[in-house]
């Protein structure tokens, strides 16, 4: 379970090992991509419509909600944390968008909904970073708490969204690409940039890799950890925006159990639950693997009950293959 075994210690004079290391790093990274490509090839044989442009567009749109959540989750998992509350926070933002749009314009609703999501993320962050509550517990509490908020806000009844412009935001296209997909890509690019090109991003890795070391090196660990949960919350709000605008309904049960899908996408994408290792690119690939699988199972008309079996097995097999290939 732990990552270091007594026999895995390398010897001095790393020169001799570097070639092999580069090799295994490559396999590790391309392993996920190869799995995706393999899945795509198999799928294209299973159903000849799979590779059609409209279907590929569908897949891209379908994965966007969980994909965006997974991007935010990547930050959290990189710090060795976990955020079980993203589905509920998504739910809060969805009902807020709907509720505010009843009387206000999009320009008011969107920032308010996302700010509220960030505020809930902030509570998570403060609890984890400063009150010393384990992330699993803090966000498990928030899972229940935020869902309660969404129900209370709506009184349990979905709020319809009749704003035409808002509907178009979620269902329209820009440059021929569905808007939700663009929002996913935008979130991904910004996140990837932040994680690889900014001091904050590298510090996120450092915190997950060795929190004490990061603190001793002068990284403001508490602040950054808090920010990470705020990001995860805010990104859940963005995901909620896609949800609400696509479906034009503010239902308080929006996003139930999505946290598990998001975590699965992150881990299948090669990010380690033990922190410090991973990337949002991997998360995108992981999201696509899960999305393509769901798509091809639907296209081939597999019984929904059996789909559950596949979904469960896939996660395990994907991670197993990755663990193997990165060890090789």
């Amino acid at each position: 379970m732990s990552e270091t075994t007594p026999s895995s210690r390398p010897r001095d004079g790393a020169g001799t090992r570097s070639r092999q290391q580069i090799f295994s790093a490559l396999i590790g990274r391309t392993g996920v991509l190869a799995a995706l490509i393999l899945l795509i090839i198999v799928s294209s044989f299973l159903n000849d419509r799979f590779l059609s442009v409209p279907n590929l567009m569908n897949v891209l749109r379908q994965v966007s909600i969980v994909g965006i959540l997974a991007v935010g989750m990547t930050f959290v998992i990189l710090t060795k944390g976990i955020d079980l509350s993203v589905g509920s926070i998504l739910g809060v933002s969805v009902v807020l968008f709907a509720g505010i749009l009843e009387t206000q314009s999009m320009a008011v609703a969107i920032p308010l909904g996302i700010l509220a999501a960030m505020a809930l993320g902030l509570v998570n962050g403060l609890g984890v970073a400063f009150a010393g509550i384990p992330p699993f517990i803090m966000t498990l509490g928030m899972l229940s708490f935020a869902r309660g908020l969404a129900f209370i806000y709506t009184g349990g009844t979905p709020i319809p969204i009749l704003d035409e412009a808002f509907f178009n935001l979620g269902n329209g296209y820009t440059f021929g690409v569905p808007n939700p997909t663009l929002i996913l890509l935008g979130t991904l690019l910004v996140s990837g940039f932040v994680l690889t090109q900014t001091p904050f991003g590298r510090s996120v890795y450092a915190i997950g890799s060795n929190e004490d070391a990061a603190r001793l090196s002068g990284v403001p660990v508490g602040l950054y950890t808090t920010i990470v949960y705020v990001i995860s919350g805010g990104v859940a709000g963005i995901s909620g925006l896609v949800y609400a605008s696509q479906l034009s309904v503010g239902t308080p049960i929006a996003g139930q159990a999505y946290e598990l899908d998001a975590i699965a996408a992150v881990v299948v994408g090669g990010t380690s639950l033990f922190g410090g290792k991973g990337s949002v690119t991997g998360t995108l690939i992981g999201t696509l693997i899960i999305g393509v699988l769901a798509n091809i199972l639907n296209l081939t008309g597999v019984d929904p009950f059996v789909q559950q079996l596949f979904k469960g097995a896939l996660i395990v097999v994907a991670v197993f293959i990755m663990a193997r290939s990165s060890r090789a």
Binding site: R11, A14, V219
Partner: protein, 499 residues
Amino acid sequence: MRGATMTDLLLDARGLTKRFGDNVVLRDVDLSVAPGEVHAIVGENGAGKSTLIKILGGVHRADGGSMRLEGREISLSSPQAALDHGIVVIHQELSLAPHLTTVENIFLGHFLRNAFGMLDHRRMRARTDELLKRLSIDIDPTIPVGRLSIAQQQMIEIAKAISVRAKLLILDEPTAVLDANRVDTLFELIGRLKSEGIGVVFISHHLEEIFRIADRVTVLRDGSRTGTEPVRDVDHDWLVSRMIGREFESYTSKQRQRGEVVLELEGLSSEGAFEAISLQVRAGEIVGLAGLIGAGRTEVAQAIFGVRKHSGGTMRLNGAAVRLSGPRAATRRGIAYVSEDRKAFGLLPNRPVRENMTISNLARFTSFGVLRLSRERAFVREQIEELDIRLSGMQATISTLSGGNQQKALLGRALAGRPKVLIFDEPTRGVDIGAKREIYRFIEDLAEEGAAILVISSEMEEVIRLSDRIIVMRSGRVAAELQRAEASEETIMRAATMA
């Protein structure tokens, strides 16, 4: 330095006091460092050295006392604040992020940015190459540091420390994991920093190092300062007496009776680690395994213990060839192994001392599938007495013990399996001088009782002191076998390093 005025001092800390709960770990301690001075701190395990350092580094806040830097009163609320004042600390526990590269670790907390505020990868890489060259570290700075050896990681910590412009550099036991060559490199570097007017605080349990590089030395005992003197005015015995509060009785080792060959390796090889290792250990004999770090000694021990597969050769126990499938099989055969890395492979950190000491052979305390707790307690009590482990009770969580006492508890664990062969890998790493002697005595007593013992150590003095015979390894091969009489630091070193 005694005549130095206040304003000449780089650091002037007075009356530092620190409590954890109602446990006072530092009591009214003064420490001053002048520019270009190397000030050593010595003391037993748990004397408060690291705590003092952590106060200076902004990790802990003192409960009392004051600190002045270059004459100005400072207050350090975080490691960041200390860094901002030019106080750079290398802590006792390695503090690198294993998944990050050398470049990233060196600049963690003070990344270089380009004009847009983004990471300036190129400039950081260039600076890193420069630093590594200066410290003669030959590694690829773009691989995760977790893949490097501990010694290499320690050197990277040093590189990281000097990458910032420090006024005061504090090193907490930096040499504990370094071999002689790297210690030399480090000391050269310290010499250079001295000449640049940087103040250095240096902690080590190796007292000879104090005499090599320190200008002044402060001794701590039980959280109080028991003396501060220029190094040239003091000697080894003075330090020891200040540290432990009494004179050290000299020790003479007894003659031991050697018996049959118990453990025998013949041409044992393991790919990438060692080749054609042959050695014998008799009952009642202590064999030292010396060599530089990375010579492959730990790997040999792991192979004997069944943790590492060996590709060629034979291992015999009491004359019969055996192939062990793992630690469990080894334990059953009466082999015990005390790892060099206490934290990673030894301690069950949040379990009581009692459980820590019996985990390796619970069968011994079990009848009809149920643990016999009274039998267990009796064993543990006996070991605590035997090893003179100082603790509040056998139910104390082991991580609350000092390093030396933790190590003793793990030695006690090795005995739970009633072993006939014991392998001690760096048995006194990070252990103070008092505890060290007790551990030596313990090992010797075991040998006297007829155990076959293999001691791996990077400390020449230690191997020479303990061993009946010394096997020197170099690059995974046996370089020399020295009888007690022929063994000296020089002969060992020559065998260990000769190309």
